[in-house]
C-alpha cells in the first residue's frame, strides 16, 4: 500500500505541493502528467531521495517519511533505466541481493531473467543491450530484492510500440503474481487505462485529479485534465441559463455558447466554462435527425483517421471537432473529406468543467 498525505517537497527549483493519493495493497497506481509536472520528483520522494517539507509517506501502513531509501523496500525503474555501466547484466540484476548467498543470488537472478526473456543475456555488458533489453534488465534488478512497492518512471517512453505492448502485458502478469504495490509515472493516458487501478493527474507539482482511470476519463474535473487525457473535444465557451438559475448544488437546463455553435446542456453554474464532449458521444448523420437530441451542429468532414474497426472523423464546425464511429458506419454514411454532416450530442453527454 502506498499512501501520500499532503506531501510537500522542495526539490531544487521545483516544488511538489500537498500531494494526497493512495494505492491499495497489491494495487497498481499511475501518476500521469506532462513533462515537468513533477512525476519523477514525486516517485523519488516515495523512494526517499528527497526530504518532505510537510506531509507523510506511508508504505504498508508504516510511516516511512523519516526512513532512508535503503530501508523502504522500494524498487525503482527510471525512464532511462540507469543500469550500472560497470557491471554485467547478471551483476546488475543481482545488485540488491548482496546479503544472500551466491547460490541463492544466482538462482534468483536466473529466474527473473528467464521470466523477463533475457536469460541468455546475463553475461553481457549493459552497453550491448537494446532499449527493450535494458528495460527488462532494469525491471528485473528492481524486482530482485522482492520490494513491497515498485516505482516506475515512464518506463515505456523510449520503447517502440510492439515492445511496449509486450512489456506492459508482462508487467501486468508479474504484478498479478507478485502482489507488489506498483506506482508508475507516465504521460500516456492510454497506459493508465490499460494498467492502472488508481490514477493521479499531476500538473505543476499538484494533483489536479485522482481516482480510478474510469472516473477520471468519464469525469475530468478541469479543462487541463480533459485535454491532457485526450478526452477529445474540449471547447471553451459560456453557460447561460435557459430559465431560472437552479438552487445551490442543483442543476438546470442551459445553453453553452461556443461561438461557432450553441449546445444545450445541463449545468450547475453559469458563466465561462469548458465543455468536454467525448468522441464516442457524438453521432453523425447526413440530414438533421428527428427526435429528442437537439444539439445539432452543422459541420464538414475534414479528415478520416482509420484505425481498424474504429475511425476518428475530424470535423470542421467553425472550430475542430472529433467524432469516433465504427468504420462500418463511416462507410454506410458515405463519409469522405468535404462531405457536409450534422453532428449530434445528447445534452447529458456534454460534461461541463
Amino acid at each position: 500500500m502506498i499512501r501520500l498525505e499532503g506531501l510537500t517537497v522542495d526539490a531544487g527549483d521545483f516544488t511538489l505541493t500537498d500531494v494526497t493519493f493512495d494505492v491499495p495493497a497489491g494495487g497498481y497506481g499511475l501518476v500521469i502528467g506532462p513533462t515537468g509536472s513533477g512525476k519523477t520528483t514525486l516517485l523519488e520522494s516515495i523512494a526517499g531521495h528527497t526530504r518532505p517539507r510537510a506531509g507523510r509517506v506511508l508504505l504498508d501502513d508504516r510511516d516511512a517519511s523519516g526512513l532512508p531509501p535503503e530501508a523502504r523496500g522500494v524498487g525503482f525503474v527510471y525512464q532511462q533505466y540507469h543500469l550500472f555501466p560497470h557491471l554485467t547484466v547478471a551483476e546488475n540484476i543481482g545488485y540488491g541481493l548482496r546479503r544472500e548467498g551466491p547460490a541463492a543470488r544466482r538462482a534468483r537472478v536466473e529466474a527473473l531473467a528467464a521470466m523477463l526473456g533475457i536469460g541468455d543475456l546475463l553475461g553481457r555488458s549493459v552497453h550491448r543491450l537494446s532499449g527493450g533489453e535494458q528495460q527488462r534488465a532494469a525491471i528485473a534488478r528492481a524486482l530482485a530484492p522482492r520490494p513491497r512497492v515498485l516505482l516506475l518512471d515512464e518506463p515505456f517512453a523510449a520503447l517502440d510500440p510492439s515492445t511496449r505492448r509486450a512489456l506492459r502485458r508482462e508487467l501486468r502478469a508479474l504484478h498479478a503474481r507478485g502482489g507488489t504495490t506498483t506506482r508508475q509515472g507516465t504521460h500516456d493516458f492510454d497506459e493508465a487505462l490499460r494498467l492502472g487501478e488508481r490514477v493521479a493527474v499531476l500538473a505543476d507539482g499538484r494533483v489536479a485529479q485522482a481516482g480510478t482511470p474510469e472516473e477520471v476519463f468519464r469525469h475530468p474535473n478541469s479543462a487541463f485534465v480533459a485535454r491532457f487525457i485526450g478526452a477529445g473535444n474540449v471547447i471553451a465557451g459560456r453557460v447561460r441559463w435557459l430559465g431560472a438559475p437552479p438552487a445551490d448544488g442543483e442543476s438546470a437546463a442551459a445553453t453553452f455558447d461556443a461561438g461557432a455553435f450553441v449546445l444545450e446542456v445541463v449545468a450547475e453554474r453559469d458563466g465561462p466554462a469548458h465543455a468536454v464532449l467525448r468522441p464516442e458521444d457524438l453521432t453523425l448523420s447526413r440530414l438533421v435527425p428527428e427526435g429528442s437530441a437537439r444539439n445539432h451542429v452543422r459541420a464538414t468532414v475534414a479528415v478520416l483517421e482509420r484505425t481498424g474497426p474504429v475511425t476518428l472523423v475530424h470535423l470542421d464546425a467553425g472550430r475542430p471537432l472529433v467524432a469516433s464511429l465504427t468504420t462500418a458506419s463511416v462507410d454506410a454514411l458515405g463519409l469522405a473529406p468535404g462531405v457536409p454532416v450534422v453532428a449530434t450530442a445528447k445534452a447529458t453527454a456534454v460534461l461541463l468543467v
Partner: protein, 271 residues
C-alpha cells in the same frame, strides 16, 4: 600531419589549402619546440657518464627520495582530496565557490612564493610548525617539508580531476543503488568509486608527476636532503652542464617510465 593531397585541395580551393598548411606548420613548430630540448638532453648523455651517475650513491638516493616523497604527497592528496572533490561535485554548501577559488591559487602563485608561504606557516617559529616540532615532526629542512611543498602545488590537480570524475557519475545511478538496499557509504564503494576511479587515478598520476617536477617550493622549505630537481640544479651550479646532464637524464627517464606505466594501468581498466 594532416594530408594535403591533390583531390582534396582541388575540391576545397587554394585558400583552404593555405589554411591547412598554416595550421600544420604552426603545430609542427610547437611540437618541435617541446620535443627538441628533451631529445637534445637524451642525446647529450654519454653512456659512460650515465653509468657513473647510476653508481653515484647521492644520485640514487635522490631519485629514490623523489619517487617516495612524490608518492607520499599523492597519497595524502588522495586521502584528503577525494572526499573534498566529492563534496564539491555533489553538495551545494555555503562557501563552495570560495573553496574552489582557493584551490586554484597554488597553480597561479609563483612556486617560490608558495614555498615562502609554507615556510611561514610550517616553520618552527610559527604556531603550527612549533606544535608539529614539539610533537616530533620536523618539517622545514627535513623530508616532511618536501612532501608538504609537493602536496601544496599538486593537490589542486587531483581535486579538480576527481571533482570532474564525480560530477560525471549520474546521481540517479546512486539513487537506484540506494533503493536496492545499500547505505550511502556502500553505494560510494560499489557504484560511485568504480565509475569515477579511472579519472581519479589519472588525476593522481598527474599530481605525482607535478610533485616530481617541483623545484621552487621545495627549494625554499628543504634544500637537503636533495630531491632530483634540486640535485640537478646543485650539480649544474657547482659542476656545469657535464655534471648536471646525467642526473637530469635519469630523472627524466624515471618520470617518463612511471607515468607511462600508470597511464597503461589506467587505460587497462577501461570497460
Amino acid at each position: 600531419m594532416p594530408n594535403t593531397n591533390a583531390p582534396d585541395s582541388a575540391r576545397h580551393g587554394p585558400r583552404r589549402l593555405a589554411g591547412r598548411i598554416l595550421v600544420a606548420g604552426l603545430s609542427a613548430l610547437l611540437v618541435l619546440f617541446v620535443a627538441g630540448p628533451l631529445l637534445r638532453l637524451l642525446l647529450a648523455a654519454r653512456p659512460a657518464s650515465l653509468a657513473a651517475a647510476l653508481g653515484d650513491p647521492e644520485v640514487r638516493a635522490s631519485i629514490a627520495l623523489t619517487v617516495a616523497t612524490a608518492g607520499a604527497a599523492t597519497a595524502l592528496a588522495l586521502i584528503g582530496g577525494v572526499p573534498l572533490a566529492w563534496l564539491l561535485a555533489r553538495r551545494r554548501f555555503r562557501g563552495r565557490r570560495v573553496v574552489e577559488a582557493l584551490l586554484d591559487l597554488p597553480v597561479v602563485v609563483p612556486h617560490p612564493v608558495a614555498g615562502i608561504a609554507l615556510l611561514l606557516f610550517l616553520g618552527r617559529e610559527s604556531a603550527v610548525g612549533g606544535a608539529l616540532a614539539r610533537a616530533g615532526l620536523e618539517v622545514v629542512n627535513h623530508v616532511p617539508g618536501i612532501v608538504a611543498a609537493m602536496l601544496f602545488v599538486s593537490v589542486p590537480l587531483l581535486v579538480s580531476a576527481a571533482r570532474e570524475a564525480f560530477a560525471a557519475v549520474d546521481p540517479r545511478l546512486e539513487r537506484v543503488a540506494r533503493t536496492l538496499g545499500d547505505g550511502p557509504a556502500t553505494v560510494f564503494r560499489r557504484v560511485t568509486l568504480p565509475l569515477a576511479g579511472r579519472s581519479i587515478l589519472a588525476g593522481a598520476v598527474l599530481a605525482w608527476a607535478r610533485s616530481v617536477s617541483e623545484f621552487g617550493a621545495v627549494v625554499v622549505l628543504t634544500y637537503n636532503p636533495k630531491v632530483g630537481s634540486i640535485l640537478t640544479f646543485d650539480r649544474f651550479t657547482t659542476g656545469g652542464l657535464a655534471a648536471a646532464v646525467p642526473v637530469a637524464v635519469l630523472l627524466l627517464g624515471v618520470a617518463l617510465a612511471v607515468t607511462a606505466v600508470a597511464r597503461l594501468l589506467v587505460r587497462d581498466r577501461a570497460p
